[in-house]
């Protein structure tokens, strides 16, 4: 089947099998490998992308269901010059990633969370991120990153990461 959608602002058309997932379409047909597959059954959240601004697990959606929609992957958040978004910068400052495999999903989820609720409480942050699994960080740096990204002063306990002057 032929499918067309806008991915990171660019029109993409491909002929795909009906069973191909949106995640595989993004990774294989669009060469956007930042979207990761951690479970392929909709629990881990590593494959989270924005579809028309809403966070969606791309492993649970067929590529053909994306027809006519606007998809943003983690690659689409960053500027062409490599400039990180405030959410990405906050993840870096708070050591919100180690191996980095779950990170694109968390960055997309956190971006969607803050777009909907710019000043979440702690409970709202934890609830908002509970659809993404991380195995390295114990979620400490991730929760702190979201606190930081929304301008809260209690972002961390022992100082964020900065290059010494």
């Amino acid at each position: 089947m032929s499918v067309s959608m806008t991915v990171n602002g660019r029109e993409r058309t491909a002929v795909v099998e009906p069973r191909k997932t949106l995640a595989d379409f993004l990774r294989q047909d669009c060469a956007l490998t930042g979207t990761h597959l951690g479970c392929e059954h909709g629990v881990c959240g590593a494959c989270t992308v924005l579809v028309d601004g809403q966070a969606v697990r791309s492993c649970l959606v067929f590529a053909v269901q994306g027809e006519g929609h606007e998809v943003t992957t983690v690659e689409g958040l960053t500027g062409p010059d490599g400039a990180l978004t405030p959410v990405q910068e906050a993840f870096r400052a708070e050591h919100g990633l180690q191996c980095g495999f779950c990170t694109p999903g968390f960055v997309v989820s956190a971006t969607a969370l803050l777009a909907e609720n710019p000043r979440p409480t702690d409970d709202e942050i934890r609830e908002g991120l509970s659809g993404n699994l991380c195995r390295c960080t114990g979620y400490q740096g991730i929760v702190n990153a979201v606190r930081r990204a929304c301008g809260r002063a209690d972002a961390n306990y022992s100082g964020s990461m900065e290059v010494p002057a």
Partner: protein
């Protein structure tokens, strides 16, 4: 390394206890921008021309005879290029031993694919090679596998009994390895005469590493050069290279292993499993590249298991609460095909049993037992029973003799004044601070204040608990193949540096922290240093990132190689400045005469002289600024921590709510405090998950019941509290003054959580005998206590 001691130049930077310009700073990670932007490159992101995709036919029976494997329909499917079974691949297997365990260890039989019978659910029976993963899975569905099921061996006690069915008929017994009971003089007498003896048996259930990226590799056999070019999601590129050279029966020089970004390992990705051998052999048979990325179900049921052991322990206590003797018996379920030999951690458990306490006498024995279940691989702190059971039984002792568990630990903990302290097992502790971390953690959590709040809550019918876990564990385990690491450091033509290490980082921030060490000792900015790792063709032999060894091994070798290069820079600069090396200072990539800052040369000028102005160098100075060195670590570098957490247990639902979690740790001089805290936090949450949520369960015929994330529950951000940290930075025996901190979080956390839950339920007469502690188990324990 003698070059440092012989250094003619300015004194090497000294960091005794204090942070340096780079050491001890929470520098942002070099790794992060590309990973945050989705520009990392993991195994599944690599695509090469002509690449085939592999998928496996696996047994869904725990033990049975293979009656028939019919691959005809699968082979005929368009897009399927080949289907191989044991008959095709097993004859290609040469040797299958691991450097870490050695050639002579007892290994399970080395069947690449199941041959004649199957031995656990998930046992690989056939490999399907196809143009896409979709078609490969279609092919798997078309393979007809008929197995005549037999009763599996699942229970470790039945497996050890006389006449038990053998998991591996090729071996004499189901006992994979054993540490026999030793006759320790006076031990029995100590127990016979002690005021109190407490005996308990604790079960630690099976829970798993679960890296977010599953296992994977891309094998490219070149039939013309007869070389294997392998991309692997591994923690140890060099161990894998040696292994696959043995598997194929070719010299190591004809195998290259490269690691892309790796999405976590936690021990599971140190060794290659049998399905990975099949991928390499399939590439060889077909002469084409083959990629395999396991799916999550395979990772949970078929990759590897962890934990799943039981320890009985006796503690003899005098009337003042002083420990007189520990005696323990460990039984480990290592499954059918455990890692690197027997998969047993018993030797370390026995050696380290006294942990943070002065215990005059020790007895230990252990059996590692094969069963028809998934084989054991290392998982973050594989020896953690040395902490889990002693820490849990210490709380039982405290309740039995009516003493607060903090006080009982204070009476028995090793004090700094007792160092060096020799354990009855022969190990000698230096540079550990268990007493200091115990006090720091108790203060951070306001132990006395919590006890008061707990009493008030109990009066209101609420059940709060506090759990302490005090831990001294071996980091940087360095024996045999693990004992050394090498480094190459090259000053480049423009005065920048390339540091080359044998590491294979799977998220441990090696690139960032080693740049910090090098910049500190070279005297330049971290941005002037790049790190190359994870490629056997370009890096010196190393055992990789495992066993909490990166800081100690890579850190110290980086320091040494940096000092060698610094020395050469000083010699060249001294020549250029017509000064003595002793009169020079290095700072910010510049060498200057002390007190005369205008008499200076930059690193770039030094590099130009070293590589282009060689005619102007004096005869005793060779061209270039490059060094190669190798660091050998002591067999163990002990590291310690104290974890204290508080919980509330709802006796109606069995639900446990984590309230606070405090860690006081001593990993020596921290290279990067944020990275240290990140390592601790990750381990702690794996421990919280292990005790409260994660449990890998088989039914009575060995069929796994937890093959997805819907059944195997990982903790999320909603389940874990903010972790609070205290740091003690004491000395160690290595020059960089560091200790490994990768595993400690996962070692100390399970008993802290267990003890907190047990403390909460103690007023109800509940006695807990192990993990997991999900709502079901807690309600059962309450029911057993009459509630």
């Amino acid at each position: 390394m003698t070059a440092v001691a012989d250094s003619p130049g300015a004194a090497a930077p000294s960091l005794a206890g204090a942070a340096g310009r780079w050491m001890g700073q929470s520098v942002p990670r070099k790794e992060d921008p590309r990973l945050l932007a989705g520009r990392g490159r993991y195994l599944d992101d690599i695509v090469v021309p002509g690449m085939l995709h592999a998928a496996f036919v696996r047994s869904d029976v725990a033990r049975g005879r293979i009656v028939r494997v019919d691959t005809e329909a699968a082979t005929a499917l368009p897009g399927v290029r080949a289907v191989f079974t044991a008959a095709d691949l097993n004859p290609l297997v040469h040797e299958t031993w691991w450097s870490m365990a050695g050639k002579d260890a007892v290994y399970a039989p080395n069947f690449c694919l199941a041959e004649g019978d199957v031995r656990f659910v998930g046992d690989p029976v056939a490999i399907v090679l196809a143009d896409s993963r979709y078609v490969a899975e279609d092919g798997v569905d078309l393979v007809e596998l008929e197995v005549e099921a037999d009763d599996p061996v699942l229970d470790v006690d039945a497996a050890r009994s006389e006449g038990a069915t053998l998991v591996h008929p090729e071996l004499a017994s189901n006992v994979a390895s054993a540490i026999p009971k030793a006759d320790v003089p006076g031990l029995q007498e100590t127990f016979d005469s002690a005021a109190t003896v407490v005996s308990e048996t604790f079960v630690q259930h099976r829970y798993l590493p679960v890296p977010m990226e599953t296992r994977g590799l891309l094998a490219q056999w070149d039939p013309f050069t007869e070389e294997l070019d392998l991309w692997a999601a591994t923690q140890s590129a060099h161990e894998l290279r040696a292994f696959f050279s043995r598997l194929l029966g070719i010299p190591e020089s004809r195998v290259r292993v490269r690691t892309p970004d790796v999405g976590g390992g936690f021990g599971q990705k140190v060794f290659a499993l049998r399905d990975e051998w099949a991928v390499v052999l399939a590439s060889k048979l077909l002469g084409t590249p083959v990629k395999f990325v396991e799916d999550r179900r395979e990772n949970l049921i078929a990759a590897s298991s962890a934990r799943d052991d039981r320890m009985s322990m006796d503690v003899a206590v005098d009337p003042d609460g002083k420990f007189l003797a520990f005696r323990a018996e460990l039984v480990e379920n290592v499954g059918a095909y455990p890692f690197a030999g027997s998969g047993s951690a018993a030797a370390l458990v026995g050696m380290c049993l006294p942990g943070p306490y002065t215990v005059p006498a020790i007895g230990f024995s252990g059996d590692a037992v094969f069963t028809n279940t998934t084989g054991r691989a290392p998982y973050r702190g594989p020896f953690l029973m040395e902490t889990v059971v002693p820490e849990q039984i210490v709380d039982v002792v405290a309740r039995r003799i009516g003493m607060d568990p903090l006080e009982l630990r204070r009476r028995n903990v090793i004090q700094s004044s007792q160092l060096p302290y020799q354990l009855p097992t022969g190990l000698v502790y230096t540079g550990v601070t268990p007493a200091e971390t115990l006090e720091q953690a108790a203060e951070l959590i306001d132990y006395e204040g919590f006890r008061a709040r707990q009493a008030a809550a109990r009066a209101d019918g609420r059940y709060l608990g506090i759990g302490i876990s005090l831990c001294v564990e071996p980091s940087a385990i360095a024996f045999g193949a693990l004992s050394t690491e090498g480094a190459v450091l090259k000053m480049e033509g423009t005065g920048t540096f390339n540091l080359v290490l044998g590491s294979s980082s799977t998220g441990m921030s090696v690139e960032t922290t080693m740049r910090q060490v090098a910049a500190e000792y070279l005297g330049c900015h971290i941005d002037q240093i790049t790190v190359t790792q994870g490629d056997t063709a370009t890096t010196p032999y190393g055992a990789g990132t495992q066993g909490s060894r990166s800081a100690v091994l890579y850190g110290n070798v980086t320091r040494e190689v940096s000092l060698e290069v610094r020395d050469k820079i000083l010699r060249i600069a001294a020549h250029m400045l017509e000064a003595s090396p002793d009169d020079l200072d290095i700072a910010d990539g510049q060498v200057a005469v002390k007190g005369v800052p205008q008499a200076a040369v930059t690193f770039e000028q030094v590099a130009t002289m070293a590589y282009q102005g060689t005619a102007m160098l004096p005869p005793d100075l060779r061209a270039g600024v490059e060094a190669v060195t190798r660091f050998t670590a002591p067999m163990m570098t002990f590291v310690n921590a104290c974890h204290i957490c508080t919980v509330e247990v709802d006796p109606d639902t069995g639900q446990v709510q984590m309230l606070r979690y405090v860690v006081s740790e001593d990993c020596g001089q921290m290279i990067n405090p944020k990275v240290v805290e990140g390592q601790v936090a990750g381990g702690v949450v794996q421990g919280i998950g292990g005790v409260l949520y994660e449990s890998f369960v088989y039914d009575e015929v060995g069929n796994p019941l937890t093959g997805s994330f819907v059944d195997y529950l990982l903790p999320t951000a909603a389940e874990v509290p903010d972790i609070e940290y205290g740091h003690v930075e004491s000395g160690t025996s290595n020059a960089l003054n560091v200790k490994g901190v990768g595993e400690g979080g996962a070692v100390a956390s399970p008993p802290a959580v267990f003890n907190a839950v047990a403390d909460a339920l103690a007023p109800l007469g509940v006695e807990l005998r192990g993990t997991p502690l999900g709502p079901r188990q807690i309600l059962d324990a309450l029911a057993a206590a009459g509630h």
